[in-house]
Amino acid sequence: MASDISGASLSSEDLKLQFAPFSSALEAGFWHQLTQKKLNDYRLDESPKCIKGYYYNGDPVGLPTRLTLEFSAFDVDGPTPARCCPALGMLYNTNTLDAFKAVDKKALLEKEAKEIWEAIQSGAALKNPSVLCRFILLTFADLKKYHFYYWFCFPALCFPEGLKIIQPPVILEEVFSPKQISALQEAYDGLCIKRGITAVPFFLMKYADDAVQMALLEDWEAFFTDTKKITVGVYDPCTLSQHPGWPLRNLLVLLAKQWGSKLDLVEVLCFRDQTLQGNRSIQHSVLFQVKLPELPNNSVCLKSVGWEKNPKGAMGPRMVNLSECMDPKRLAESSVDLNLKLMRWRLVPSLDLDKVVNTKCLLLGAGTLGCNVARTLMGWGVRHITFVDNAKISYSNPVRQPLYEFEDCLGGGKSKATAAVDRLTKIFPGVSAEGYNMSIPMPGHPVNFSQATLSQAQKDVVQLEKLISEHDVVFLLMDTRESRWLPTVIAASKRKLVVNAALGFDTFVVMRHGLKKPHVSQSVYAATDSSTSCSSASSSSSTPAGAALSVPGSSLFSNIPGHKLGCYFCNDVVAPGDSTRDRTLDQQCTVSRPGLAMIAGALAVELMVSILQHSEGGYAVASSSDDRMNEPPTSLGLVPHQIRGFLSRFDNVLPASLAFDKCTACSPVVLDHYEREGFSFLSKVFNSSHSFLEDLTGLTLLHQETQAAEIWDMSDDESI
């Protein structure tokens, strides 16, 4: 037999008996329960608590010998999983990491070892052998970070000279006949049934050719009356063929203490009981012939060991970070992300969510549009949202502005920008929101009443410039036309994507501003810029810029690339076919059908997302209504320039229009002046009447739509 051959070659040194230590195995439920206990019961109480784990002797080969603790560990009197052995332990939960480190591990182990030793000496361990298989769990729960530090100890008493086996271990089926094996199984099951349990940790055993008898440890004297050969069974969680598990270690001390003087040799059956593929087997159990050392006849406690090594194989505690599954904020974040991922997994595999989630959005205006845009951005998982608004929340606001409540109106009303941030954070703590309670200087609204107003305006401009620089997308969601001018100019100059939404009574426009081509370099830019401004100044034509460059024969308003698209001020918001009213939307803005802001706000965000999904982003060619039947340019579909909606007809159209070379906001001459003169140019615009911009661009007034309307109407008509 193979074992005989290897046995012959073994030296006495090799026949040392070594035990496989327990590996701690913790279920997530245990940490959840510990958290609850700490918060609700223990609080600052550091006194040891009794807990319960279990081990199992039916694992397939290759799995570590485990002591498992699950959520039920704190219910010491609760049931143990079927066919598992319970193990009792003491939980030492400290309040701080320092206390965790400072705990005297040696003293803790010795205290526990002493109790085991006393139970062995007194014989109490015979009646209650579970005392042989105990553990200590030292923990610190950092409930701010959901980090759990822990260290297990499985106390074991050591024979001063170690333990020897007189021959190599043998597998049960090598010595037992199939008949004996089935008799053994029957005897074990019978013992279980008699005791009303499903696993017996330690037992005594006698066997003959066709019969096996078993008894509990406490029945030793009655059981072993005339037998020279002593066989002891241990429910063994180890799967190694050459080593027993940890529970045997203290049992051998008990045997040595109680009967060591009479016994020289003890046969140990490491009972392993596996059900694989529906077949139960115990034949892989292992038999050890252990030479039982005599213990000195004094009551000094044996040396003890048992602290678990960490995953690095060193003596030290372990730490597990459970913030992903326990921190409610992290759970909310991962659920939000999950929802979005599902969109990608199920419907739009090529959706680039990172692009959306990482986009920093600046919302100018925190009113009906701002609130709805913010909520839709949150739905898309956008984390970075900044509000600018100078208004306070009034009593009429909460019903239409979903980020505010009645309470917010009291005492003069909270600032919208800060209240919106508070509410976003309440809705989703993972958001990174900021609010700026500030005004945006407007053309025709003088700022030069005093030095103070002038410097305030300058500060506001600097702040707005800074905010626009720091964000990726600027949403224009204000209630006046004039207030959109300054951010349009700044964003055009900084080449930031602008999404603009404006409401009428039952009409709306949602549009992206044309995104100018990047500044090539300072010198080249200055040259081209001056030439363009010269040419535009000398030109008397009012045709939109770039029209001359377009390929002859192609429609003026199809396939306009993103950099040639107009801005809000190139394209008035008068609804096509509705120009008889002769009023711009913003003049009517305060009265609109209540659903309109939600529709327009949602479309503004969806437009942004579609733009981001396009490989060229803001430079994407504008899709028009005609493209609705064509292959869409992005996984989400079209990327229009404008969406104009008519609620009365429940209809949307997708016009596109070119940038206007005399635009009061994005024409080269305006941008050039802004970039060269900065605030001195801007303050002229703020302080002057409309004629200033008119003179500069050669256009009619900013505020007198009547004259410009003809041009804008024409472009609108043609684009449809």
Binding site: E27, A156, L163
Partner: protein, 238 residues
């Protein structure tokens, strides 16, 4: 009636039969009822040892707001950011204990042991059972989706990830509200159809849930013993 669609009653019946046999085989399935509702699910936990050399991860690109350790080889990945609390706990006594001659330590770095929890639920919309599962390290930390993929055998992994929708993804458990991995049921009818159609010709009964489980289970380490089936044939002739 479309024979490859399962209704809730048939699902319950299939589960009952599966449970009966599981009890006989000691396979560990149990029925978990949801408090205050008629609904419930089959549950089983299992331990699984996953080789750590199952190749690099092929995660879908494009969404990684919470970067996770990319392999499972280093289960202590999270620990590295932290100051090692062991530093100040070392002592002579511990060093002595490290050399305990009576203990035999297995150093097994070529595999990782994971605790799995499997749930079988009924999906009304697909008329099919759905396998939900999650996996934990022995420390109790649950695996992220990217890590979960690295526990799937490479042969399965490539095949599952190459279909337009990843067959395994993550979503909230419909009854528990916690994040779970799950096997998408959209293809279930495809492979169950032929099984169910062939059954009457071959004159053998089919336990829908059992047959289905024997297909999807092994992918995520859940083996279905053959004894389930042999028993069903002999003891449940109808």
């Amino acid at each position: 009636m479309s024979c490859s669609v399962l209704d809730e009653e048939q699902f319950r019946l299939s589960c009952q039969l599966l449970l009966q046999r599981s009890d006989q085989l000691g396979d560990g399935w149990s029925w978990e009822a949801v408090q205050g509702s008629e609904e419930g699910y089959l549950r089983k936990t299992a331990l699984r040892s996953v080789p750590s050399d199952w190749g690099p991860l092929h995660d879908q690109k494009g969404f990684s707001s919470h970067p996770q350790p990319q392999t499972l080889c280093d289960s202590t990945g999270h620990e590295k950011e932290e100051q090692d609390p062991a530093a100040s706990t070392g002592s002579d006594f511990l060093r002595a204990e490290e050399e305990d001659a009576g203990s035999y330590t297995v150093t097994n770095s070529s595999s990782l042991v994971l605790q799995y929890e499997y749930h079988i639920l009924f999906s009304c919309s697909y008329g099919a059972p759905v396998l939900y599962f999650r996996a934990f390290t022995l420390e109790g930390r649950s695996l992220a989706l990217e890590e979960m993929w690295s526990t799937i055998h490479p042969n399965y992994r490539l095949c599952l990830q190459n279909c337009p929708l990843n067959a395994i993804s993550q979503q909230e458990h419909p009854l528990l509200g916690q994040p779970f991995f799950f096997f998408h049921p959209c293809r279930t009818e495809e492979f169950m159809g032929p099984v169910l159609q062939a059954a009457p010709d071959q004159g053998r009964p089919v336990n829908y849930v059992l047959s289905w489980l024997s297909v999807v289970g092994p992918v995520v380490g859940l083996d279905v013993p053959l004894q389930y089936c042999t028993a069903l044939h002999s003891t449940k002739p109808d």
